[in-house]
Amino acid sequence: MKKGASGKFAQWIVSATVMLSSSAISVSAQVYEPQPGTISQAEWYSYVSRFVTSSGRVVDNENGNISHSESQGYGLLLAYLSNDQVTFDQIWSFTETNMRLRDDGLIAWKWDPATEPHIKDINNASDGDVLVAYSLALAARNWARPELEVPARNIADAIALNLVFQHDGKWLLRPAASGFGAEDGKDGPVINLSYWIFEAIPVLAELTGAEHWNELSNNGLQLLQEARFGADMLPSDWISLHEGVAPAASFPTDFGYNAIRIPLYLIRAGNETAGLLEPFVKFMGGPDRALRLVNVLSGKQTETLTDPGYVSIGAALECIFEGKPLPDDVKTFQPTSYYPSTLHLLVLSFLAERHPVCL
C-alpha cells in the first residue's frame, strides 16, 4: 500500500567536492538534477511509438525484442525527462510486475518475449537497478508522486546492501549480484565503469542515507583516472581489479558499447572536467563523424558506429570543449535502434538543459 510521503526531497542541486587522492588533484563538480520537459513531445512520441509497447515494455529491437532492466530504466528516465507520467506509469507497471521479482528486491536483468517463462536468468544488472531507482526518485519528488518513493528507496536499499562492496579499501559497484566477485573468476573482482551513473548516486544517497555513496562516486572517478589503457588511454568495458587495474581478460578487452556511455554519464552529472574527459574528447570527436570501438590492448579497431545516436556523444563533447556546433542530423532526433536512440535522447536532453547553445 502506498504510504504518505515524507517529502524530504527539497534540494534541487547537490554540490559535491570530489577529492581524487591518488592523483592528488581535486575536482570540483556540481551535480545537477535534470528537469522534466527537456525532451520534446514529438521526439518522445517517436521514440515511444518505436520502442515502448502498450504493456509498458521498452524493447531492444536489435536484440530479439527483449527488454532489459536497463531498457526499462532508460525508458523511465526518458519518460520523466519528457514529462510523460502516462508512459512512465506504464513502464513502471511492467517493470514492477514482471521484472522486479528477485528476493533481494532487485530487478531481473532480462525479459524475453520468446521464452517461457520470460525470465530465464534471475540475475540482475546493476545499471538497470540504478536507473530505475533514480528515475522513480526523480518522478516522486518532481511530480509530487510520493507513492513512487517507496519502491525507489527499496531498490536503493537493495543496491546498497547487495551491490555496493568494498575491495582494497575502495567502495565499488558490482556489475550484478552474482558472478563478478573475487571468488567467481581468475580476474575477479570485475567491474564496469559505465554502470557508475554518477548523476544518480547523490539521489540514491539521499534515499537510503547509507554512507558509502559518496565514496562510491569518488572511487569511480579515481578508477577512471587509472583505467587508461593503450595508446588511446581509454577504459575497457570490463575492468579487472584482481591485481591493480587492468582490462578484464575474461571479456573482450574493448572500449565498446558499454564504455562509450562513460563520458555521457560524466557530463550529465555536471562533471565537465577536462582532465577526466580528455581521452574521450580526443578519441570520440573528430571530423569523420563516426564512433570507433577499439581493443584497448591492441589498439585495433573493432567496429565503426555511424548512427547519429552514437555520434551524438562525441559531438556533444566537441561542442562543450571545443565550441563546435552539433551536426544537423545529430541535432534532431529520428528513432533508429533502441540503444543509440536512447543515448541520443539523453544527449539532447542534457544539451537542451545545460548547453542550449550547442543546439
Partner: protein
C-alpha cells in the same frame, strides 16, 4: 480503504492476514496481530490510516426510507461491464464483493437495468482490466485525468488495479521461485489473501514451505479450509497440504471437513490419498497398517492400471517381511510400468524370499544405475553365492557379477566369489578372489582363511606359509593350518577324484584326443579332472570309452559322467554313466550325485513334485544330508504342504542348523502371503 473492510469481513474469525505474515518480522513494521485484531476497525490499524487514497472517505448513499443502499454509477460500473460482457465468473465475484462491502445492498434482479448512464470510456477501462491489460488501464486512467481534471476513477478501480498487479507480480515471483518476494508482496497486499484468491494463498503457502516456515503454510491452508467455500479449491487445498505438511497438521486440517448434501464428507475424494498417506506412515515407522486402510488401497491397486499403489504396497509388505505378497505387488507394478523402482522392490522381495537366482536376474539390468541399485544387486549376488546347494552360475551372468563387485570394491562379495570358486574346485580363481577381497579389506580374516585353503590346494607352498605366518597370531583357524601342506593329505572330495596316483602324468601340454591310446586317454582324463578342466576331460574320456578293456571302458564312463556333472550337465552325465559297466560302488556313488543334481535342477525349474520324487529315490540309497533336507523342505513349502515343510525345517532347526530356522520363518511367510492372495 474499503478493501480492508472486505478482507476483514471475508477473513471471518480465526485468521488474520498478519497472523499468516507475521512470521517474517523483517518484512513488516506492523506487529503480529492476534485473532481479535482482525476484527479491528481499519482506521485503528497502524500504517494504513494515513494512506493516500483521496476518495477513501466517500461512502455509498443510504436511502433512509427503504433501508436499501443505493450504489453510485461509479460503484456499479464494474458490475455493469461484467454483466454486459457476459463474464459471469467476475460478475459473481463482483456481486459478492459489493455485498460484503454494503450488506444492505441487494443486487438488481434485472442486470440489464444497470445499463443506465453508460460511460464508454469507463467501459473501456473495465475491459482493459478484465483482459489483464493493467498497464493499458493505467494509461487510460492517466490520460482521462489529464484531459478532465474533475474526473477521478471509481474508487475501487485503482484498488482493484493495484491488487491485480500485485497478484500478477506474486504469481510471476512464484514461478521464478523468488519466495521472499512472494511473501513480501502478500504482506504488502493483504487484500489479496482472501477466498477470492485461493491460488494466491496456495502460492503463499508454498513460499512459506520453501522458506521453512511450515507453521505459516499451515495457517494459510487452515484459513482456506475454515473460510473458503469452493469445493474443488477445498479439496485441492487438502491435496497440497498432504504433500508438504507434517502428519499432525494434516489431521488438524482434515478436522475441518464439511459434509456434503448427501451426507458424505467432502474429502471423500481425497480419502484414497489419505489412506495412502496412512500406509506410507506405517511404512516409515515399520508398524502394521490399519487393516481397513490396507484393504482399501489393495482394492484400488488391483482395479487401477497405474503402478503407484502397487509399488506402495510392495514396499509396505517388504518392510513387513511378507516377501511373497511384496513380490506379487512388485510384479504387478512392473507389468504396468517396467520401472527401476519396481525392479528394485521385486529384487529385494525375491532376496527376502530366498530366491536369489531370480532376484539376480531381475536386478541385473539395473545393476549400474545408482549406488543403491548396485548395493541391491550385490545383495542378490551374495545370496546366490551363499546358496546351498551351489548353483551353477552362467558365464555371462558371472561377467556382470564380477563387474559389479569390482565397481563397488565389495570385499564381502569378492570373498564369497572366492568360496564359490573354491567349492566348485577352481582353486586358482578362488585364490585370486580371496586376494582381491584382502586388497579391498586387509582385515578380512575370512578372506585370508579362504586364501590359505586355496593356496594349500594349489600347493603354493611359499605363499601359503607366508600367509599363515602373517595371520597366525590373529586367527586360530589359520594358525591351525600351519604345516598342513607338508603332509600332502589334500582333502578328498566325495566324488573321489583323488586318484592322484593314476593321473600322475602331465596333462598341461595340449594333445589332440584322437592321438591318444585309450589307456593314455584315460590317464590324461583323470589328470585333466585334477586340473579342473572338465570340458577337455569329457572328450578325452570319450576316446578311452573305445577301449577293448572292460575296466578301462568302465573307468572312462565313470570319469566322463563326473566331468559332465562338474559341468552341470546332469542328463549327459547319466547317459555317460550307462556307457560302461561300473562297479556297484561306483554306480551307487554316481547315482547319488546324479539324483542330487537332478533334484536341485527340478526345484530350480519349479517342478516341485519331481524334486520330491527324485529326493525320495535318492533317499533309498543314502540318508538325506542337510542341504537336500532343506531342498525337500522348500519343495514342500512351495507345494503348499506347509506342515510337511515345517516338520523338516523344525527338525533341522532343533539339530542346530540356522538354515532350518530360516526355513520355518520362510514357510510361515509363504503361508501368510498365499492365504492373503486367496483371500483377495
Amino acid at each position: 480503504m474499503r478493501w480492508i473492510v472486505i478482507s476483514v469481513l471475508m477473513l471471518g474469525a480465526g485468521f488474520s492476514v498478519h497472523s499468516v505474515l507475521s512470521a517474517d518480522q523483517s518484512l513488516f513494521s506492523a506487529t503480529a496481530a492476534d485473532n481479535t485484531s482482525a476484527q479491528q476497525s481499519v482506521d485503528e490499524r497502524p500504517g494504513f490510516g494515513a494512506a493516500g487514497h483521496s476518495n477513501a472517505g466517500r461512502g455509498p448513499e443510504k436511502n433512509d426510507g427503504s433501508g436499501e443502499t443505493q450504489l453510485s454509477p461509479a460503484d456499479l460500473a464494474g458490475l455493469r461491464y461484467f454483466a454486459q460482457s457476459g463474464d459471469t465468473t467476475r460478475l459473481k465475484k463482483e456481486i459478492e464483493r459489493l455485498q460484503n462491502l454494503y450488506p444492505d445492498w441487494t443486487p438488481p434482479e434485472d442486470l440489464a437495468s444497470l445499463q443506465i448512464a453508460s460511460d464508454p470510456e469507463l467501459d473501456r477501462m473495465w475491459k482493459a482490466f478484465a483482459e489483464g491489460e493493467y498497464s493499458e488501464l493505467r494509461r487510460l486512467i492517466d490520460e482521462r485525468r489529464q484531459a478532465d481534471p474533475d474526473w477521478s476513477p471509481p474508487e475501487d478501480m485503482l484498488e482493484k488495479l493495484d491488487t491485480a498487479e500485485a497478484r500478477s507480480r506474486l504469481v510471476n515471483a512464484s514461478h521464478l521461485e523468488q519466495y521472499t518476494t512472494v511473501i513480501r508482496i502478500a504482506a504488502n497486499n493483504p487484500e489479496l489473501l482472501t477466498c477470492a484468491n485461493v491460488d494466491v494463498l496456495w502460492r503463499l503457502a508454498d513460499a512459506f514451505i520453501k522458506e521453512d516456515k511450515i507453521d505459516r503454510a499451515k495457517d494459510a491452508y487452515f484459513y482456506i479450509l475454515k473460510n473458503c467455500d469452493v469445493p474443488s479449491e477445498r479439496i485441492s487445498t487438502i491435496r497440497k497440504a498432504i504433500d508438504v505438511l507434517p502428519d499432525a497438521d494434516i489431521d488438524q486440517l482434515i478436522a475441518e471437513e464439511r459434509l456434503k448434501a448427501d451426507g458424505q464428507g467432502e474429502f471423500e475424494a481425497v480419502r484414497n490419498d489419505l489412506v495412502r498417506l496412512s500406509i506410507a506412515r506405517s511404512l516409515k515407522n515399520g508398524k502394521a497398517a490399519n487393516p481397513e486402510d490396507l484393504a482399501r488401497i489393495e482394492q484400488i491397486a488391483d482395479a487401477e492400471d497405474t503402478d503407484e499403489d502397487a509399488l506402495l504396497l510392495g514396499w509396505y509388505f517388504l518392510e513387513q517381511k511378507n516377501f511373497a505378497v511384496s513380490e506379487d505387488w512388485f510384479r504387478k507394478a512392473s507389468l504396468r510400468n517396467k520401472s527401476e523402482e519396481a525392479a528394485q522392490g521385486l529384487g529385494l522381495a525375491l532376496i527376502g524370499a530366498g530366491k536369489a537366482t531370480q532376484a539376480e536376474a531381475v536386478l541385473r539390468p539395473w545393476w549400474d544405475t545408482s549406488a543403491r541399485d548396485r548395493a541391491n544387486y550385490l545383495a542378490a549376488v551374495s545370496a546366490i553365492l551363499a546358496q546351498e546347494p551351489r548353483e551353477k552360475i552362467d558365464a555371462s551372468v558371472f561377467e556382470t557379477i564380477v563387474q559389479a563387485v569390482a565397481k563397488a570394491r565389495d570385499s564381502n562379495a569378492a570373498r564369497q566369489i572366492g568360496w564359490y570358486a573354491y567349492e566348485i574346485g577352481q582353486s586358482k580363481t578362488a585364490a585370486d578372489w580371496f586376494q582381491v577381497a584382502l586388497r579391498w579389506d586387509a582385515s578380512d580374516e575370512a578372506a585370508a582363511y579362504g586364501l590359505a585353503l586355496a593356496l594349500r590346494k594349489l600347493e603354493e607352498r611359499s605363499r601359503f606359509e607366508t600367509l599363515v605366518a602373517h595371520w597366525s597370531d590373529r586367527s586360530a583357524r589359520i594358525a591351525a593350518l600351519a604345516g598342513s601342506l607338508a603332509q600332502k593329505s589334500a582333502p578328498v572330495s566325495r566324488s573321489g577324484q583323488a586318484r592322484a596316483g593314476v593321473a600322475a602324468s602331465n596333462c598341461d601340454r595340449y594333445v589332440p584326443p584322437s592321438a591318444l591310446s585309450p589307456a593314455a586317454a584315460l590317464s590324461r582324463g583323470w589328470c585333466l579332472m585334477n586340473r579342473n578342466r572338465p570340458l577337455e576331460a569329457v572328450d578325452v574320456f570319450a576316446v578311452a570309452l573305445s577301449a577293448a578293456s572292460e575296466t578301462t571302458r568302465s573307468d572312462a564312463a565313470y570319469g566322463q559322467s563326473l566331468a559332465y556333472l562338474r559341468l552341470g550337465l546332469v542328463e549327459r552325465a547319466s547317459v555317460a554313466a550307462t556307457q560302461g559297466r561300473m562297479s556297484p560302488v561306483r554306480t551307487r556313488e554316481l547315482q547319488l550325485s546324479l539324483l542330487s543334481k537332478r533334484a536341485s535342477a527340478a526345484f530350480e525349474a519349479g517342478r516341485y513334485t519331481e524334486t520330491l520324487l527324485t529326493l525320495d529315490e535318492r533317499r533309498r540309497y543314502e540318508p538325506e544330508q542337510v542341504d537336500l533336507m532343506l531342498l525337500r523342505g522348500y519343495a514342500y513349502a512351495q507345494m503348499g504342504r506347509y506342515e510337511d515343510a515345517l516338520q523338516v525345517f523344525e527338525a533341522l532347526a532343533s539339530a542346530g542348523y540356522s538354515d532350518g530356522k530360516k526355513g520355518v520363518t520362510d514357510t510361515h511367510d509363504l503361508r501368510r502371503g498365499r492365504s492373503k492372495e486367496i483371500h483377495d
